[in-house]
Symmetry: C2
Protein backbone atom coordinates (compact mmCIF):
# COMPACT_ATOMS: atom_id res chain seq x y z
CA UNK A 1 0.00 0.00 0.00
CA UNK A 2 1.35 3.35 -1.00
CA UNK A 3 1.94 5.77 1.87
CA UNK A 4 0.56 9.29 1.79
CA UNK A 5 3.47 11.67 2.44
CA UNK A 6 3.37 13.36 5.83
CA UNK A 7 3.93 16.71 4.19
CA UNK A 8 1.11 17.21 1.71
CA UNK A 9 2.16 20.84 1.19
CA UNK A 10 5.02 19.73 -1.05
CA UNK A 11 2.99 17.34 -3.21
CA UNK A 12 2.74 18.52 -6.80
CA UNK A 13 -0.92 18.95 -7.84
CA UNK A 14 -0.79 16.00 -10.26
CA UNK A 15 0.31 13.65 -7.49
CA UNK A 16 -2.28 15.02 -5.11
CA UNK A 17 -4.98 14.40 -7.72
CA UNK A 18 -3.81 10.80 -8.04
CA UNK A 19 -4.53 10.28 -4.36
CA UNK A 20 -7.99 11.76 -4.70
CA UNK A 21 -8.70 9.75 -7.84
CA UNK A 22 -7.76 6.65 -5.85
CA UNK A 23 -10.41 7.54 -3.29
CA UNK A 24 -8.64 9.55 -0.59
CA UNK A 25 -11.01 12.04 1.02
CA UNK A 26 -9.32 15.06 2.59
CA UNK A 27 -9.67 18.79 2.84
CA UNK A 28 -7.09 20.36 0.51
CA UNK A 29 -6.25 23.13 2.95
CA UNK A 30 -2.46 23.20 3.11
CA UNK A 31 -2.01 20.81 0.18
CA UNK A 32 0.16 21.60 -2.85
CA UNK A 33 1.43 24.93 -1.51
CA UNK A 34 1.94 27.53 -4.22
CA UNK A 35 -0.63 26.07 -6.63
CA UNK A 36 -4.07 27.38 -7.43
CA UNK A 37 -7.03 25.61 -5.85
CA UNK A 38 -10.42 25.93 -7.50
CA UNK A 39 -14.10 25.51 -6.77
CA UNK A 40 -15.92 23.25 -9.21
CA UNK A 41 -19.48 24.04 -10.22
CA UNK A 42 -21.08 21.93 -12.96
CA UNK A 43 -24.55 22.92 -14.14
CA UNK A 44 -26.78 22.21 -17.14
CA UNK A 45 -26.00 24.23 -20.27
CA UNK A 46 -29.20 26.26 -20.09
CA UNK A 47 -28.00 27.74 -16.78
CA UNK A 48 -24.50 28.56 -18.00
CA UNK A 49 -25.24 32.05 -19.33
CA UNK A 50 -26.86 33.11 -16.07
CA UNK A 51 -23.91 31.77 -14.10
CA UNK A 52 -21.28 33.32 -16.37
CA UNK A 53 -23.07 36.68 -16.19
CA UNK A 54 -23.41 36.32 -12.41
CA UNK A 55 -19.65 35.74 -12.24
CA UNK A 56 -18.98 38.79 -14.42
CA UNK A 57 -21.14 40.91 -12.11
CA UNK A 58 -19.59 39.50 -8.94
CA UNK A 59 -15.91 39.10 -9.80
CA UNK A 60 -14.69 39.21 -6.19
CA UNK A 61 -16.75 36.18 -5.24
CA UNK A 62 -16.52 34.47 -8.64
CA UNK A 63 -13.08 34.76 -10.24
CA UNK A 64 -13.65 32.37 -13.15
CA UNK A 65 -10.53 30.42 -14.11
CA UNK A 66 -12.13 28.28 -16.81
CA UNK A 67 -15.50 27.31 -18.25
CA UNK A 68 -15.63 24.03 -20.14
CA UNK A 69 -17.55 23.02 -23.23
CA UNK A 70 -20.79 21.14 -22.43
CA UNK A 71 -20.05 17.58 -21.37
CA UNK A 72 -16.29 18.08 -21.23
CA UNK A 73 -14.49 16.30 -18.40
CA UNK A 74 -11.19 18.15 -18.70
CA UNK A 75 -9.93 21.71 -18.31
CA UNK A 76 -7.00 23.76 -19.57
CA UNK A 77 -6.10 24.35 -15.91
CA UNK A 78 -4.82 20.77 -15.58
CA UNK A 79 -5.10 18.96 -18.92
CA UNK A 80 -4.37 15.50 -17.49
CA UNK A 81 -7.03 15.73 -14.80
CA UNK A 82 -10.50 14.19 -14.96
CA UNK A 83 -13.02 16.57 -13.43
CA UNK A 84 -15.31 13.65 -12.46
CA UNK A 85 -12.81 11.77 -10.31
CA UNK A 86 -9.87 13.97 -9.32
CA UNK A 87 -11.41 15.97 -6.49
CA UNK A 88 -11.42 14.50 -2.98
CA UNK A 89 -15.19 14.85 -2.51
CA UNK A 90 -18.21 16.09 -4.44
CA UNK A 91 -21.69 17.14 -3.51
CA UNK A 92 -24.67 16.53 -5.75
CA UNK A 93 -27.68 18.84 -5.59
CA UNK A 94 -31.08 18.37 -7.23
CA UNK A 95 -33.50 21.31 -7.28
CA UNK A 96 -31.21 23.00 -4.77
CA UNK A 97 -31.23 20.15 -2.25
CA UNK A 98 -28.15 18.13 -1.28
CA UNK A 99 -28.87 14.57 -2.36
CA UNK A 100 -25.49 12.85 -2.22
CA UNK A 101 -21.85 13.16 -1.28
CA UNK A 102 -19.58 11.25 -3.65
CA UNK A 103 -15.89 10.73 -4.38
CA UNK A 104 -16.56 10.02 -8.06
CA UNK A 105 -19.33 11.64 -10.10
CA UNK A 106 -18.80 9.68 -13.34
CA UNK A 107 -22.11 7.88 -12.94
CA UNK A 108 -24.12 11.10 -12.64
CA UNK A 109 -22.24 13.13 -15.28
CA UNK A 110 -24.31 14.46 -18.17
CA UNK A 111 -23.50 15.60 -21.68
CA UNK A 112 -25.09 19.00 -21.05
CA UNK A 113 -23.05 19.85 -17.96
CA UNK A 114 -20.90 22.98 -18.22
CA UNK A 115 -18.20 23.11 -15.56
CA UNK A 116 -17.09 26.38 -13.99
CA UNK A 117 -13.75 26.42 -12.18
CA UNK A 118 -13.58 29.35 -9.80
CA UNK A 119 -10.56 30.47 -7.79
CA UNK A 120 -10.40 29.57 -4.09
CA UNK A 121 -8.76 31.55 -1.30
CA UNK A 122 -6.92 28.48 -0.02
CA UNK A 123 -4.56 29.21 -2.93
CA UNK A 124 -3.02 32.26 -1.31
CA UNK A 125 -2.48 30.84 2.16
CA UNK A 126 1.05 29.67 1.40
CA UNK A 127 1.92 33.19 0.24
CA UNK A 128 0.40 34.66 3.40
CA UNK A 129 2.45 32.30 5.54
CA UNK A 130 5.60 33.12 3.58
CA UNK A 131 4.94 36.81 4.27
CA UNK A 132 4.77 36.18 8.00
CA UNK A 133 0.98 36.13 8.34
CA UNK A 134 0.00 33.33 10.75
CA UNK A 135 -2.88 31.04 9.74
CA UNK A 136 -4.89 30.57 12.92
CA UNK A 137 -7.18 27.89 11.52
CA UNK A 138 -4.25 25.68 10.64
CA UNK A 139 -2.62 26.25 14.01
CA UNK A 140 -5.88 25.00 15.52
CA UNK A 141 -6.38 22.13 13.05
CA UNK A 142 -9.60 23.61 11.70
CA UNK A 143 -11.24 24.48 8.39
CA UNK A 144 -11.50 28.15 7.40
CA UNK A 145 -14.87 29.42 8.63
CA UNK A 146 -17.42 30.67 6.09
CA UNK A 147 -20.20 33.17 6.78
CA UNK A 148 -23.27 34.12 4.82
CA UNK A 149 -23.12 37.95 4.87
CA UNK A 150 -25.79 40.65 4.63
CA UNK A 151 -24.09 41.92 1.46
CA UNK A 152 -26.23 41.08 -1.55
CA UNK A 153 -24.56 39.99 -4.76
CA UNK A 154 -25.52 41.68 -8.02
CA UNK A 155 -28.21 39.42 -9.58
CA UNK A 156 -28.01 37.90 -13.05
CA UNK A 157 -30.94 36.09 -14.64
CA UNK A 158 -32.29 33.58 -12.13
CA UNK A 159 -29.30 33.97 -9.81
CA UNK A 160 -29.15 36.19 -6.74
CA UNK A 161 -28.35 36.00 -3.06
CA UNK A 162 -25.95 36.97 -0.32
CA UNK A 163 -22.17 37.04 -0.64
CA UNK A 164 -20.56 34.25 1.34
CA UNK A 165 -17.18 35.16 2.88
CA UNK A 166 -14.26 33.28 4.34
CA UNK A 167 -12.73 34.81 7.46
CA UNK A 168 -9.19 34.71 8.75
CA UNK A 169 -8.00 36.22 12.02
CA UNK A 170 -4.97 38.38 11.23
CA UNK A 171 -2.70 40.17 13.74
CA UNK A 172 -3.42 43.91 13.49
CA UNK A 173 0.14 44.66 12.43
CA UNK A 174 -0.10 42.13 9.58
CA UNK A 175 -3.43 43.20 8.06
CA UNK A 176 -1.81 45.51 5.51
CA UNK A 177 0.57 42.71 4.49
CA UNK A 178 -2.40 40.38 4.04
CA UNK A 179 -4.02 42.95 1.74
CA UNK A 180 -0.85 43.36 -0.31
CA UNK A 181 -0.21 39.64 -0.67
CA UNK A 182 -3.77 38.75 -1.63
CA UNK A 183 -4.07 41.70 -4.04
CA UNK A 184 -1.49 39.86 -6.13
CA UNK A 185 -3.82 36.82 -6.24
CA UNK A 186 -6.77 38.23 -8.18
CA UNK A 187 -7.57 34.89 -9.77
CA UNK A 188 -8.35 33.59 -6.29
CA UNK A 189 -10.51 36.45 -4.95
CA UNK A 190 -7.79 39.07 -4.57
CA UNK A 191 -7.86 41.56 -1.68
CA UNK A 192 -10.30 41.28 1.23
CA UNK A 193 -13.88 42.49 0.74
CA UNK A 194 -14.04 43.74 4.30
CA UNK A 195 -11.78 44.22 7.31
CA UNK A 196 -12.58 44.48 10.96
CA UNK A 197 -16.34 44.77 11.46
CA UNK A 198 -18.37 41.53 11.36
CA UNK A 199 -21.47 43.49 12.42
CA UNK A 200 -21.26 45.59 9.25
CA UNK A 201 -21.52 42.34 7.31
CA UNK A 202 -24.51 41.28 9.38
CA UNK A 203 -22.53 38.57 11.19
CA UNK A 204 -23.76 38.39 14.77
CA UNK A 205 -21.40 35.76 16.12
CA UNK A 206 -18.08 34.71 14.61
CA UNK A 207 -18.11 31.62 16.81
CA UNK A 208 -21.00 30.26 14.71
CA UNK A 209 -19.90 30.06 11.06
CA UNK A 210 -22.33 28.81 8.42
CA UNK A 211 -19.72 26.35 7.20
CA UNK A 212 -16.18 25.38 8.16
CA UNK A 213 -15.10 25.63 11.80
CA UNK A 214 -15.01 28.39 14.41
CA UNK A 215 -11.47 29.65 14.95
CA UNK A 216 -10.11 31.35 18.06
CA UNK A 217 -8.33 34.70 17.67
CA UNK A 218 -5.15 35.67 19.45
CA UNK A 219 -4.99 39.00 21.23
CA UNK A 220 -5.12 41.96 18.80
CA UNK A 221 -6.24 39.75 15.92
CA UNK A 222 -8.62 41.43 13.46
CA UNK A 223 -11.21 39.49 11.43
CA UNK A 224 -10.50 39.81 7.70
CA UNK A 225 -13.08 38.66 5.12
CA UNK A 226 -12.64 37.47 1.55
CA UNK A 227 -15.52 36.88 -0.85
CA UNK A 228 -15.86 33.13 -1.30
CA UNK A 229 -16.54 30.82 -4.24
CA UNK A 230 -19.38 29.25 -2.26
CA UNK A 231 -21.38 32.38 -3.20
CA UNK A 232 -22.34 31.16 -6.70
CA UNK A 233 -23.15 27.69 -5.33
CA UNK A 234 -25.56 29.29 -2.86
CA UNK A 235 -27.11 31.25 -5.76
CA UNK A 236 -27.69 28.23 -8.02
CA UNK A 237 -29.09 26.27 -5.08
CA UNK A 238 -31.46 29.11 -4.17
CA UNK A 239 -32.62 29.21 -7.80
CA UNK A 240 -33.30 25.46 -7.62
CA UNK A 241 -31.21 24.54 -10.62
CA UNK A 242 -32.28 20.96 -11.46
CA UNK A 243 -28.77 19.47 -11.19
CA UNK A 244 -25.59 20.91 -9.70
CA UNK A 245 -22.34 19.17 -8.95
CA UNK A 246 -19.87 20.98 -6.69
CA UNK A 247 -16.89 20.05 -4.57
CA UNK A 248 -17.46 19.48 -0.88
CA UNK A 249 -16.52 22.65 1.02
CA UNK A 250 -12.73 22.81 1.41
CA UNK A 251 -12.17 19.75 -0.82
CA UNK A 252 -10.98 21.67 -3.84
CA UNK A 253 -9.75 20.94 -7.34
CA UNK A 254 -5.95 21.24 -7.40
CA UNK A 255 -4.90 22.87 -10.67
CA UNK A 256 -1.54 23.07 -12.42
CA UNK A 257 -1.75 26.89 -12.29
CA UNK A 258 0.80 28.63 -10.04
CA UNK A 259 -1.01 30.48 -7.25
CA UNK A 260 0.36 33.91 -8.03
CA UNK A 261 -0.87 34.10 -11.65
CA UNK A 262 -3.49 36.74 -11.07
CA UNK B 1 -24.58 78.20 -29.66
CA UNK B 2 -22.74 76.53 -26.83
CA UNK B 3 -18.97 76.44 -27.25
CA UNK B 4 -17.05 73.20 -26.90
CA UNK B 5 -14.31 73.82 -24.33
CA UNK B 6 -10.82 73.96 -25.79
CA UNK B 7 -9.61 71.51 -23.18
CA UNK B 8 -11.73 68.38 -23.54
CA UNK B 9 -9.41 66.54 -21.13
CA UNK B 10 -11.03 68.28 -18.17
CA UNK B 11 -14.64 67.67 -19.22
CA UNK B 12 -16.46 65.36 -16.82
CA UNK B 13 -17.82 62.28 -18.65
CA UNK B 14 -21.45 63.35 -18.21
CA UNK B 15 -20.78 66.68 -19.97
CA UNK B 16 -18.83 65.00 -22.72
CA UNK B 17 -21.73 62.62 -23.31
CA UNK B 18 -24.07 65.59 -23.64
CA UNK B 19 -21.97 66.87 -26.53
CA UNK B 20 -22.07 63.50 -28.23
CA UNK B 21 -25.82 63.13 -27.62
CA UNK B 22 -26.23 66.51 -29.29
CA UNK B 23 -24.47 65.15 -32.37
CA UNK B 24 -20.81 66.05 -31.98
CA UNK B 25 -18.57 63.50 -33.69
CA UNK B 26 -15.05 63.25 -32.30
CA UNK B 27 -12.49 60.69 -31.29
CA UNK B 28 -12.49 60.49 -27.50
CA UNK B 29 -8.70 60.16 -27.30
CA UNK B 30 -7.63 62.68 -24.68
CA UNK B 31 -11.17 63.40 -23.50
CA UNK B 32 -12.24 63.19 -19.86
CA UNK B 33 -8.80 62.37 -18.52
CA UNK B 34 -8.86 59.99 -15.58
CA UNK B 35 -12.17 58.33 -16.50
CA UNK B 36 -12.70 54.90 -17.99
CA UNK B 37 -13.49 54.70 -21.70
CA UNK B 38 -15.27 51.64 -23.02
CA UNK B 39 -15.92 49.77 -26.24
CA UNK B 40 -19.60 49.11 -26.93
CA UNK B 41 -20.65 45.85 -28.55
CA UNK B 42 -24.37 45.13 -28.85
CA UNK B 43 -25.40 41.75 -30.24
CA UNK B 44 -28.52 39.59 -30.29
CA UNK B 45 -29.20 37.62 -27.12
CA UNK B 46 -28.52 34.26 -28.76
CA UNK B 47 -24.90 35.35 -29.31
CA UNK B 48 -24.38 36.66 -25.79
CA UNK B 49 -23.19 33.41 -24.20
CA UNK B 50 -20.57 32.88 -26.90
CA UNK B 51 -19.33 36.45 -26.47
CA UNK B 52 -19.28 36.32 -22.68
CA UNK B 53 -17.37 33.03 -22.79
CA UNK B 54 -15.01 34.47 -25.42
CA UNK B 55 -14.35 37.39 -23.08
CA UNK B 56 -13.72 35.04 -20.16
CA UNK B 57 -11.20 33.12 -22.26
CA UNK B 58 -9.50 36.26 -23.57
CA UNK B 59 -9.49 38.62 -20.61
CA UNK B 60 -6.57 40.72 -21.86
CA UNK B 61 -8.41 41.69 -25.04
CA UNK B 62 -11.90 41.64 -23.50
CA UNK B 63 -11.99 43.13 -19.98
CA UNK B 64 -15.78 43.20 -19.56
CA UNK B 65 -16.97 46.15 -17.50
CA UNK B 66 -20.70 45.46 -17.82
CA UNK B 67 -23.19 43.31 -19.72
CA UNK B 68 -26.74 44.62 -19.91
CA UNK B 69 -30.07 42.85 -19.81
CA UNK B 70 -31.52 42.23 -23.29
CA UNK B 71 -32.96 45.42 -24.73
CA UNK B 72 -31.62 47.64 -21.94
CA UNK B 73 -30.35 51.06 -23.02
CA UNK B 74 -28.53 51.93 -19.81
CA UNK B 75 -25.58 50.57 -17.81
CA UNK B 76 -24.41 50.71 -14.22
CA UNK B 77 -21.20 52.31 -15.53
CA UNK B 78 -23.04 55.60 -16.16
CA UNK B 79 -26.67 55.32 -15.04
CA UNK B 80 -27.77 58.60 -16.67
CA UNK B 81 -26.35 57.71 -20.08
CA UNK B 82 -28.34 56.37 -23.02
CA UNK B 83 -26.29 53.74 -24.82
CA UNK B 84 -28.09 54.48 -28.12
CA UNK B 85 -27.21 58.18 -28.32
CA UNK B 86 -24.34 59.08 -26.01
CA UNK B 87 -21.39 57.84 -28.04
CA UNK B 88 -19.89 60.12 -30.69
CA UNK B 89 -20.25 57.59 -33.52
CA UNK B 90 -21.52 54.06 -34.05
CA UNK B 91 -21.02 51.43 -36.69
CA UNK B 92 -23.72 48.99 -37.72
CA UNK B 93 -22.80 45.56 -39.08
CA UNK B 94 -25.11 43.02 -40.69
CA UNK B 95 -23.79 39.50 -41.28
CA UNK B 96 -20.32 40.86 -40.55
CA UNK B 97 -20.44 43.66 -43.12
CA UNK B 98 -20.33 47.36 -42.25
CA UNK B 99 -23.65 48.79 -43.46
CA UNK B 100 -23.87 52.19 -41.77
CA UNK B 101 -22.10 54.74 -39.62
CA UNK B 102 -24.50 56.59 -37.31
CA UNK B 103 -24.47 59.10 -34.45
CA UNK B 104 -27.70 57.69 -32.98
CA UNK B 105 -28.76 54.04 -33.13
CA UNK B 106 -32.22 54.41 -31.56
CA UNK B 107 -33.93 53.55 -34.84
CA UNK B 108 -32.08 50.25 -35.23
CA UNK B 109 -32.11 49.18 -31.58
CA UNK B 110 -33.81 45.84 -30.83
CA UNK B 111 -35.33 44.32 -27.72
CA UNK B 112 -33.03 41.31 -27.96
CA UNK B 113 -29.77 43.28 -28.03
CA UNK B 114 -27.36 42.56 -25.19
CA UNK B 115 -24.72 45.27 -24.80
CA UNK B 116 -21.18 44.49 -23.73
CA UNK B 117 -19.06 47.34 -22.42
CA UNK B 118 -15.39 46.47 -22.62
CA UNK B 119 -12.49 48.52 -21.25
CA UNK B 120 -10.42 50.60 -23.68
CA UNK B 121 -6.73 51.45 -23.42
CA UNK B 122 -7.42 55.15 -24.02
CA UNK B 123 -8.43 55.12 -20.34
CA UNK B 124 -4.88 54.78 -19.08
CA UNK B 125 -3.22 57.37 -21.28
CA UNK B 126 -3.69 60.17 -18.74
CA UNK B 127 -1.97 58.01 -16.12
CA UNK B 128 0.88 57.27 -18.54
CA UNK B 129 1.33 60.99 -19.24
CA UNK B 130 1.25 61.76 -15.51
CA UNK B 131 4.03 59.21 -15.01
CA UNK B 132 6.20 60.91 -17.60
CA UNK B 133 5.48 58.58 -20.51
CA UNK B 134 5.09 60.67 -23.69
CA UNK B 135 2.16 59.86 -25.98
CA UNK B 136 3.62 60.06 -29.49
CA UNK B 137 0.28 59.74 -31.30
CA UNK B 138 -1.09 62.77 -29.50
CA UNK B 139 2.07 64.78 -30.13
CA UNK B 140 1.51 64.02 -33.81
CA UNK B 141 -2.26 64.58 -33.77
CA UNK B 142 -3.02 61.00 -34.70
CA UNK B 143 -5.18 58.09 -33.58
CA UNK B 144 -3.52 55.17 -31.82
CA UNK B 145 -2.61 52.58 -34.48
CA UNK B 146 -4.21 49.12 -34.31
CA UNK B 147 -2.74 45.95 -35.76
CA UNK B 148 -4.23 42.53 -36.41
CA UNK B 149 -1.62 40.18 -34.91
CA UNK B 150 -0.66 36.58 -35.65
CA UNK B 151 -1.64 35.66 -32.09
CA UNK B 152 -4.85 33.65 -32.11
CA UNK B 153 -7.44 34.24 -29.42
CA UNK B 154 -8.86 31.27 -27.53
CA UNK B 155 -12.10 30.36 -29.36
CA UNK B 156 -15.54 30.16 -27.71
CA UNK B 157 -18.56 28.79 -29.52
CA UNK B 158 -18.78 30.48 -32.91
CA UNK B 159 -16.15 33.08 -32.02
CA UNK B 160 -12.47 32.91 -32.93
CA UNK B 161 -9.81 34.96 -34.63
CA UNK B 162 -6.64 36.97 -34.20
CA UNK B 163 -5.90 39.29 -31.30
CA UNK B 164 -5.95 42.93 -32.38
CA UNK B 165 -3.44 45.15 -30.56
CA UNK B 166 -2.95 48.86 -30.05
CA UNK B 167 0.65 50.06 -30.23
CA UNK B 168 2.36 52.96 -28.53
CA UNK B 169 5.97 54.01 -29.06
CA UNK B 170 7.57 54.31 -25.63
CA UNK B 171 11.07 55.60 -24.84
CA UNK B 172 13.23 52.61 -23.82
CA UNK B 173 13.84 54.07 -20.38
CA UNK B 174 10.09 54.47 -19.79
CA UNK B 175 8.91 50.99 -20.86
CA UNK B 176 9.04 49.59 -17.32
CA UNK B 177 7.04 52.59 -16.08
CA UNK B 178 4.45 51.96 -18.78
CA UNK B 179 4.13 48.35 -17.61
CA UNK B 180 3.73 49.39 -13.98
CA UNK B 181 1.16 52.09 -14.70
CA UNK B 182 -0.97 49.95 -16.99
CA UNK B 183 -0.80 46.93 -14.68
CA UNK B 184 -2.87 49.02 -12.27
CA UNK B 185 -5.52 49.41 -14.99
CA UNK B 186 -6.68 45.80 -15.39
CA UNK B 187 -10.22 46.83 -16.29
CA UNK B 188 -8.82 48.50 -19.40
CA UNK B 189 -6.49 45.73 -20.66
CA UNK B 190 -3.81 45.97 -17.98
CA UNK B 191 -0.15 45.41 -18.82
CA UNK B 192 1.13 45.10 -22.40
CA UNK B 193 0.69 41.77 -24.19
CA UNK B 194 4.01 42.21 -25.97
CA UNK B 195 7.00 44.54 -25.97
CA UNK B 196 9.56 45.24 -28.64
CA UNK B 197 9.19 42.75 -31.48
CA UNK B 198 6.48 43.47 -34.07
CA UNK B 199 7.77 40.57 -36.17
CA UNK B 200 6.99 38.15 -33.36
CA UNK B 201 3.39 39.33 -33.60
CA UNK B 202 3.42 38.84 -37.36
CA UNK B 203 3.38 42.57 -38.02
CA UNK B 204 5.49 43.25 -41.10
CA UNK B 205 5.29 47.03 -41.21
CA UNK B 206 4.33 49.31 -38.34
CA UNK B 207 3.83 52.13 -40.84
CA UNK B 208 0.75 50.31 -42.14
CA UNK B 209 -1.71 49.78 -39.27
CA UNK B 210 -5.00 47.97 -39.87
CA UNK B 211 -6.86 50.83 -38.22
CA UNK B 212 -5.96 54.17 -36.66
CA UNK B 213 -2.95 56.09 -37.94
CA UNK B 214 0.75 55.35 -38.38
CA UNK B 215 2.84 57.09 -35.72
CA UNK B 216 6.50 58.07 -35.97
CA UNK B 217 8.87 56.92 -33.23
CA UNK B 218 11.55 59.08 -31.66
CA UNK B 219 15.06 57.68 -31.38
CA UNK B 220 15.25 54.79 -28.89
CA UNK B 221 11.47 54.36 -28.81
CA UNK B 222 10.27 50.77 -28.42
CA UNK B 223 6.92 49.54 -29.78
CA UNK B 224 4.67 48.38 -26.94
CA UNK B 225 1.46 46.46 -27.66
CA UNK B 226 -1.74 46.15 -25.67
CA UNK B 227 -4.54 43.71 -26.50
CA UNK B 228 -7.42 45.75 -27.89
CA UNK B 229 -11.20 45.67 -27.49
CA UNK B 230 -11.53 45.57 -31.27
CA UNK B 231 -10.60 41.87 -30.94
CA UNK B 232 -14.12 40.68 -30.01
CA UNK B 233 -15.65 42.92 -32.70
CA UNK B 234 -13.45 41.23 -35.28
CA UNK B 235 -14.55 37.84 -33.94
CA UNK B 236 -18.30 38.55 -34.11
CA UNK B 237 -17.86 40.01 -37.59
CA UNK B 238 -15.91 36.97 -38.76
CA UNK B 239 -18.69 34.73 -37.39
CA UNK B 240 -21.21 36.80 -39.38
CA UNK B 241 -23.44 37.65 -36.46
CA UNK B 242 -26.67 38.93 -38.05
CA UNK B 243 -26.63 42.32 -36.28
CA UNK B 244 -23.84 44.04 -34.38
CA UNK B 245 -23.67 47.61 -33.15
CA UNK B 246 -20.26 48.93 -32.08
CA UNK B 247 -18.65 52.31 -31.56
CA UNK B 248 -16.58 53.71 -34.37
CA UNK B 249 -12.90 52.98 -33.64
CA UNK B 250 -11.60 55.54 -31.14
CA UNK B 251 -15.06 57.03 -30.55
CA UNK B 252 -15.63 55.43 -27.20
CA UNK B 253 -18.29 55.38 -24.50
CA UNK B 254 -17.21 57.66 -21.64
CA UNK B 255 -18.19 56.05 -18.34
CA UNK B 256 -18.46 57.46 -14.83
CA UNK B 257 -15.91 54.90 -13.64
CA UNK B 258 -12.53 56.31 -12.52
CA UNK B 259 -9.77 54.99 -14.78
CA UNK B 260 -7.71 53.36 -12.06
CA UNK B 261 -10.44 51.05 -10.69
CA UNK B 262 -8.92 47.84 -11.94
Amino acid sequence: VRQLPAETATLPPAEAREWFRAGLVSSTDGWAAGWTQANLLAIPRDWAYDLLLYAQRNPGACPVLDVTEPGATTTVLAPAADLRTDLPAYRLFRDGELVAELTDVSAVWREDLVTFLIGCSLSFEAALAAAGVPLRHRQQGRQVPLYRTAVQSRPAGRLAGPVVASMRWIPAERVATAVEVTSAHRATHGPPMHIGSPAALGIADLARPDDGDPVQPAEHDVPVFWACGVTPLAAVRAARAPLVIAQKVGHMFLTDLPAATA
